[in-house]
């Protein structure tokens, strides 16, 4: 376990030896650093594709009375204009995660027909020779609307008499999903302490730096569509595209080349993909669309957005006996992608976190509002659960005047109790939460921090220390269980590993990197099994023609599930290679060692045991004799004198097939599907240290400590990167990011001038450590790491600010904790205490 404040031992690995566990530098970086990346927009820039622009509803809620495209169609450079009428045969966009109990599932149409239900909803589309011509044509499309009342917030939407989005869903309620375990009523009746709060988890925009982008090319001669899109789910999206268009999948190739960040925003299957493909089919020209940054705030799914009512019941010693919550989750205007399922299942099942809370009741209400639909965003439901729980645990600590770290410790599920079935039904598979917390406390120097906090308070300064612990069910599976929670995708992942005649290898993986470094990490897994160096392994993702099966990248599954599939496929290959080597060396496969790419007899002798030797010699003689008789020619003498065989020798032999064991087919090509039996729980502790300036509400983020447990670490360099980047996004939600709408549903955010993205100067260097409790749920021992830091960071920072301001009587700060919100909370507390004043604290 590493306690260093800087990056732990990250010296590059030696040239030989296994690479898993070592900080291998990324294989893909040289290309990216030289400007050789290939994002979809780069393909568009070098093509003559028609440019597609989308006409979007300017109203949050309106009847569409008429759409007049005639003038637009006649404009110079315009090749086609689409309205809903043109898409009569096209299916609606799928919702692949319908929360159990949804009475109706209002799907998002590709183009709105009778009603627009959020600002930004696509109404029409133009394909033209240039972006300028397309834009000009958009302005010429005449739409007449009858504006309707809109609801822009959950509690307003469920009020009787509120504007209704969908006739089939009264009060705009999509579902009420309940999970209960134990006897919550009794726990609250008998509790010594009960704390109740109303919390908000702010709506955010994932904002990967690359916006969404599509280049679709239909070849009318072959009837084949090649569809380039920045998608985190190439195979599911190919299925969705085929279904929408009525195009069979053997005529559809979906390619996701380099992708500039996803974070969940590119998990949804969107209208623009269908529109571009449809336009290409209609015009016979490639059609391209790229999202402008402003458009992204309207057209791409948002994350989070809960109103949370929580009650925590405990005894005076800090032990939590009951936890009850009612969560109003905003689904937005339509059920699309994973939207409805994320709060219901991921949040609904996760609310007890790493704690042993015997009585839990959760109700998640999915509410439709006239806003851009929500979808998964880094953590996808887990941050919402963790925020809720960690805020309430801190409130409990304050109520009991107990140290927040100690309250957590008292409630942790202990390692001896693992696997632990939570009252909600999911299982924590493994973990040592107390050891992880201790490591974080030590790394942070927690005691010294508390002392410093007291000293500074005496000087009239406000230091805050925030603790948050989390557990996260990553790598969702098994496939058989998905349907029970309404998830219409698989839980398994596939990998095909092929060894070429020279011994190098290619991995075809169904996962899809958007920056996580699969080209390196999956190469490491395969390379170690096959005795290769990582740069002798090429990883191919994101092309449904090259990779026939796949589920994609989400829920931190790529290493745990995808990596395991790679591992197992490579092991099958190695098995076969071993048999070929054994045949060449006249040994039994079990008698060979494989080290540094070489098969050697394990007894070190050039001569084989008599029994096996005789059998082999006889077989050889028979084969030679039969061949001579039939062909009248002699086979070359088998070289059985060599003492060792290299992997490259085996590979060559597998391709040539001159001297393979009897009955063995040539080739070194194995596919594996790994379907996890359950979800490993990643976990960690975050400790944030802030100082607040009460005059201006400025929060200085002084330190941020993360001790993460993602099970077995495949590449510590990549893991560090995920912790830093994940934590930064969590900090962003805590302090500055918010997708804000006015009461009528009008977005108040249209660019980075209103949406606050964290910059380098906002963040400290992160101090990271690791505990490594491998999971037994996959042979790699790996859990997920991509989302954990986001899950833990937001509540740690929020708790830190509240910890700093407790001395000023502040109990709540509006989210996000911008300077104005912090300042206002301080002013309110001051007024409540009856102290006036405009100056120093």
């Amino acid at each position: 376990m590493d306690n260093q404040t800087q990056n732990p031992d990250l010296h590059p690995p030696a040239a030989e030896g296994p690479s898993v566990g070592r900080p291998v530098r990324r294989l893909e970086d040289e290309r990216l650093l030289r400007g050789g990346s290939r994002y979809v927009s780069d393909l568009i820039a070098t093509s003559d594709a028609l440019r597609v622009k989308i006409l979007r509803s300017p109203h949050a809620h309106a009847r569409i009375l008429a759409v007049g495209a005639t003038a637009a169609r006649a404009m110079p450079g315009v090749v086609a204009v689409l309205t809903a009428d043109d898409l009569a045969g096209v299916g609606a966009l799928p919702c692949d995660w319908q929360a159990p109990g949804m009475i109706a599932v209002p799907l998002h149409p590709v183009l709105a027909r009778d009603r627009a239900r959020y600002v930004g909803e696509p109404i029409a589309a133009v394909a033209a020779e240039s972006a300028h011509a397309a834009e000009d044509a958009l302005a010429a499309i005449a739409v007449s609307y009858e504006v309707l009342l809109a609801v822009a917030e959950q509690e307003a939407a469920i009020e009787p008499g509120a504007a209704q989005l969908h006739d089939a869903l009264p009060n705009n309620i999509g579902y009420q999903f309940r999970r209960e375990g134990g006897d919550v009523e009794r726990a609250f009746a008998e509790a010594e302490v009960v704390v109740r709060r109303r919390l908000t988890n702010n709506r955010v925009a994932p904002s990967p730096l690359e916006g969404r982008v599509v280049l679709s090319e239909f070849d009318p001669v072959s009837g084949r569509l090649v569809h380039h899109t920045a998608s985190q789910l190439p195979h599911p999206h190919a299925r969705s595209l085929g279904a929408c268009l009525g195009l069979p999948l053997h005529k559809l190739r979906l390619v996701a080349p380099d992708i500039g960040g996803g974070f969940g925003a590119k998990l949804c299957f969107y209208a623009e993909d269908v529109i571009c493909a449809f336009l290409s089919m209609r015009t016979g020209r490639p059609c391209a669309w790229s999202e402008g940054r402003g458009e992204s705030f309207l057209a791409t799914t948002h994350g989070r957005d809960h109103i949370q009512y929580a009650e925590i019941a405990a005894s005076r010693d800090g032990r939590i006996t009951g936890f009850r919550s009612r969560l109003l989750a905003d689904i937005g205007a339509y059920a699309i992608g994973m939207g409805p399922g994320v709060p219901a299942i991921n949040t609904g099942f996760s609310v007890s976190g790493p704690y042993n809370i015997p009585n839990v009741a959760t109700e998640v209400v999915g509410v439709f509002t006239n806003r851009t639909p929500t979808g998964p965003y880094r953590g996808a439901g887990h941050p919402e659960a963790t925020f809720l729980l960690e805020r309430m645990v801190d409130e409990l600590a304050r109520e009991l005047a107990m140290d927040p770290a100690e309250v957590r410790r008292v409630n942790f599920v202990s390692p001896s109790a693992m696997p632990h079935r939570m009252p909600t039904g999911w299982t924590l598979d493994s973990g040592d939460y107390a050891a992880n917390l201790d490591a974080a406390l030590e790394l942070a120097g927690y005691r010294a921090l508390r002392a410093r906090q007291a000293a500074l308070r005496a000087e009239g300064r406000f230091l805050g220390i925030g603790v948050a612990t989390f557990s996260e069910s990553s790598g969702v599976g098994p496939s058989i269980g998905m349907g029970s929670v309404g998830f219409r995708r698989a839980g398994h992942e596939s990998a095909r590993v092929v060894v070429h005649a020279d011994g190098s290898a290619t991995v075809f993986s169904g996962t899809m990197s958007t920056g996580q470094g699969h080209a390196t990490s999956l190469a490491q897994v395969a390379a170690d099994v096959l005795g290769l160096a990582p740069d002798e392994v090429e990883v191919v993702e994101g092309d449904t023609e090259a990779v026939p099966f796949g589920t994609g990248t989400f829920n931190s599954r790529s290493m745990a599930i995808g990596g395991t599939a790679v591992y197992e496929a490579a092991r099958k290959l190695l098995d076969k290679a071993r048999k070929i080597a054994a045949h060449k060396l006249q040994r039994r496969p079990a008698d060979l060692t494989f080290e540094d790419g070489v098969f050697r007899p394990s007894d070190g002798l050039g001569v084989i045991p008599a029994a096996a030797h005789i059998g082999k010699k006889v077989e050889d003689k028979v084969v030679h004799a039969v061949f001579r008789r039939r062909m009248g020619m002699d086979l070359p003498p088998s070289d059985r004198e060599a003492g060792t065989v290299t992997f490259a020798d085996v590979a060559r032999e597998a391709h040539l097939g001159h001297d393979l064991p009897m009955g063995m087919a040539p080739g070194l090509d194995e596919t594996d599907f790994f379907d996890p039996v359950d979800m490993p729980s990643a976990y960690g502790t975050h400790i944030a240290v802030v100082e607040v300036d009460p005059e201006t509400g400025q929060v200085a983020l002084l330190r941020h400590v993360v001790v993460d447990d993602c099970g077995r670490i495949i590449n510590p360099l990549l893991v560090e990167g995920q912790l830093h980047g994940g934590a930064a996004q969590g900090v962003g939600q805590a302090l500055m990011e918010a997708m804000v709408h006015g009461m009528g549903g009008e977005p108040m955010v249209g660019s980075f001038e209103e949406y606050a993205m964290p910059r380098a100067a906002d963040l400290p260097s992160f101090e990271t450590g690791h505990t490594e409790v491998p999971t037994k749920l996959n042979p790699l021992g790996a859990k997920g790491v991509g989302e954990g830091a986001t899950i833990g960071a937001t509540p740690a920072v929020v708790n830190a600010v509240l910890d700093a301001l407790a001395a000023l009587g502040v109990t709540e700060v509006a989210m996000p904790m911008t300077p104005m919100h912090v300042w206002r909370a301080i002013e309110r507390a001051r007024e409540a205490r009856g102290t006036k004043g405009g100056g120093d604290a």
Partner: protein, 285 residues
């Protein structure tokens, strides 16, 4: 962006002539103009590129620093003359936008754009600067006519600005977490004649202004404490997602005190406050 005819002026006279035509716009650094064009806020039919003909020199003249309108913010920030005589101005220039923007954006462009949250306008007002154009010399107070507007006639070009060197000066701003320009900013200067001047930017919806009440309070003593009871009136203050009128007014009050403390301190210059970043201990007290 709408298309336009592009002219590269080869002399100031040619520039004035082209610029006087209808729907013409001058292009210097382009950091505000091009942004406006991309968002369809302006639709000129001709652009006149004047970077090549604008003066860029920075020199001391008659008790003031005269800076050519073509000087970029980066050039002003590293100018020895400005850093030595008016570090608050060098620091101000060095904290406009970001380093890449500062390599292009010019003093002339900033002054002409007169943005509500611009950093140069309060400096011009607090220092009593003079704006030199191809036609005349105008006091800053008369030059800034309203948000986004100046006293310039069509075809008239700003060629330089002279900043009188004060006895003391400082600039303090608090950044909007999203846009990263000022959410409130205060420039304070003690003129050579002993009179304090204090100008505020990004507070009022109509742009930078001299805060007379604050100046009056400081006339007694140029110390932060003198401003303890001075309140920013909330009428007419700008409002956005990150600062409503009440908060913005308070911010302006706090920053005014800090600007005075900084001007009196050992290293007068610029202090920028930004959410997430370290507090600037010493400037608060």
């Amino acid at each position: 962006m709408h298309d336009f005819v592009y002219h590269r002026a080869s002399s100031l006279d040619e520039a004035r002539r082209l610029g006087a035509e209808e729907a013409a716009a001058f292009l210097a650094g382009g950091q505000t103009l091009l942004r406006d064009l991309k968002h369809h806020r302006r639709t000129p039919t001709s652009l006149v590129k004047i970077s090549g003909v604008l003066p860029r020199e920075i020199d001391l003249r008659d008790g003031g620093i005269r800076i050519g309108a073509g000087a970029t913010h980066a050039e002003v920030a590293i100018s020895e003359v400005v850093r030595e005589r008016l570090p608050a101005l060098a620091g101000l220039a060095g904290h406009i936008g970001d380093p890449a923007v500062r390599h292009r954006a010019t003093l002339g462009g900033a002054v002409v754009a007169h943005e509500i949250a611009g950093d140069y306008p309060p400096a011009c007002l607090a220092l009593g600067a003079t704006v030199h154009t191809t036609g005349r010399d105008v006091a800053a107070a008369e030059f800034f006519a309203g948000p986004g507007r100046t006293a310039l006639e069509p075809g008239e070009i700003v060629t330089a600005v002279t900043f009188p060197v004060p006895a003391k000066a400082a600039y303090v701003k608090f950044l909007n977490p999203a846009a990263r320009y000022a959410m409130a900013g205060v420039f304070v200067a003690l003129a050579a004649d002993g009179r304090p001047r204090l100008a505020v930017t990004a507070a009022r919806a109509d742009g930078a202004f001299r805060w007379r009440e604050a100046e009056a309070a400081l006339a007694a003593a140029l110390v932060g404490d003198a401003l303890r009871e001075v309140r920013m009136p909330l009428d007419g203050l700008a409002e956005d997602l990150f600062a409503d009128a009440a908060y913005r007014g308070r911010l302006a009050e706090v920053l005014a005190r800090r600007a005075v403390s900084l001007a009196n301190g050992a290293a007068p210059g610029v202090a920028v406050f930004s959410h997430g970043s370290p507090l600037r201990i010493g400037v608060e007290r």
